[in-house]
Symmetry: C2
Subunit: 279 residues, 2 copies
């Protein structure tokens, strides 16, 4: 297992962590200034400053793009909407390629409006990824399926376990992989076996960290800084590294009530400190 205190260069920052205070150009500057070597931007932030400028700034700063956030949201109520989503996902692949991203993160989507058909939504996800896959392969962009916590099954992602993501990858084949986010998977009794399975198949594309707070006051925007909650982050990282993961580790914290209110420079400093001492 890698000693992160000796490898600060393995830290990457998902810009969601500082997005309430910094535009993407500010985040790129701030992250580089903090001596951090990786970044994962969001599509709306990239659009806000322009793709070319974002790509140039990230390149000039020498930052590794550990993932582009995000494609997905496949389930739709009708064919026209499905086509719009498919087209939008191809644009996300284009952007990921322009940014030199290591993968496009897929948050696959939940139930279409008015639907209770979870197996149907899951079938749409599989079809949607299958349709996108050749385009992504041509662009050289791996698709990282990110299982989201089951509490998001209705509205954000009907892929809720790493087992499910692994099953999808096994069916869809080359060009697909998984993004493992501690926040989403820490509770899973099968996580050890499924991380090993993902690793064996060479599918571990990304590792995201933050912490699960007790109590959690908001289902979306109350994620914790590493060390402030109960997730055993180091155990999970150890499982990933034992399974062959050797990439950067991305910090992604949605925290409306705490970290988003603080000066981003302070947030990055705490991220770096906790990365070394907790993760």
């Amino acid at each position: 297992m890698r000693d992160l205190a000796r490898h600060p260069e393995l830290l990457s920052i998902n810009t969601a962590t500082v997005r309430e205070r910094w535009r993407l150009d500010e985040a790129i500057d701030g992250i580089a200034r903090a001596g951090i070597r990786g970044i994962a931007p969001w599509r709306d932030q990239v659009a806000a400053i322009g793709l070319e400028r974002a790509a140039r700034m990230i390149r000039d700063a020498g930052l590794t793009v550990t993932g582009h956030c995000r494609g997905g949201m496949f389930p739709a109520g009708d064919a026209a909407q499905r086509r719009r989503i498919a087209e939008d996902n191809r644009r996300a692949v284009d952007e990921a390629a322009a940014l030199g991203a290591q993968c496009l993160v897929l948050v696959v989507g939940g139930l279409p409006e008015g639907s209770r058909d979870l197996p149907g939504a899951r079938a749409q996800v599989k079809d949607g990824i299958a349709e996108l896959l050749p385009y992504a392969q041509d662009a050289g962009i791996p698709l990282a399926i990110e299982p989201l916590h089951p509490m998001y099954a209705a509205d954000r992602s009907c892929v809720n376990t790493l087992g499910q993501a692994n099953d999808l990858c096994a069916e869809l084949g080359a060009g697909t992989g998984v993004a493992v986010d501690v926040y989403h998977v820490w509770w899973d009794p099968r996580i050890e076996a499924e991380i090993a399975r993902a690793g064996e198949a060479g599918r571990l594309l990304a590792l995201h960290v933050c912490d699960w707070l007790v109590p959690t006051r908001d289902m979306l925007l109350d994620r914790g800084m590493m060390g402030d909650g109960v997730a055993d982050i180091r155990r999970l990282r150890g499982l990933a590294e034992a399974a062959g993961y050797d990439g950067m580790i991305e910090v992604e914290i949605f925290s409306a009530g705490n970290w988003w209110r603080r000066p981003p420079e302070e947030v990055l400093a705490v991220c770096a400190e906790r990365f070394a001492s907790v993760c």
Copy 2:
């Protein structure tokens, strides 16, 4: 699959659904007055009116006790606490027997204070149930392990999937079974296989219903009336019945912002109507 519109006698009410407005004696009267045939009381409510009185009132009203809520909460920080918990669980078995309950529902507990050791908590759960089991068997009370939604893994239950509960039952053997609550399991991609597995082994001891609201505004107290959310209750009941479940169906709704504020008579009427039309 049973036609619930023709079988109102299959409805049971977990008293949590009306507990903000009714003491247990009032709930027993109100449930019987509504023509409902089953009840599942909570320990604190039983204690508040006295076990003997509660048992007599329920018997006199001719209500079936579909479960006693609840035993469990096994993981502890030290041996003394573990002993107190074990003793308390034996009292819960005694109460269940006195009430003539069909099972004692086990909400198994989460992480001990200050702990991040989820595998350790899970081991304590297994040991705790194993220790309680002979006592429960002597009393003729089946132990119904209820997997709780993964969002409760830290603070309420580290058994978070039906697969996990089935594994525990397989290891612990006769006298153990599962309580399947739609709210906790509706998202699970493996639910079909695991309900079938529980049924084959004769382990389906209870079926609880309510609904998953979008958005869910509170992780504990914002459960929905059947039909108001996105859980496919009928599909899940169908799976349970196809697997051999022929017991009553218990409505359990924690709803601080809505149903707990309404007159309990109205809540019971809506429960009965939705039971017939939605479940």
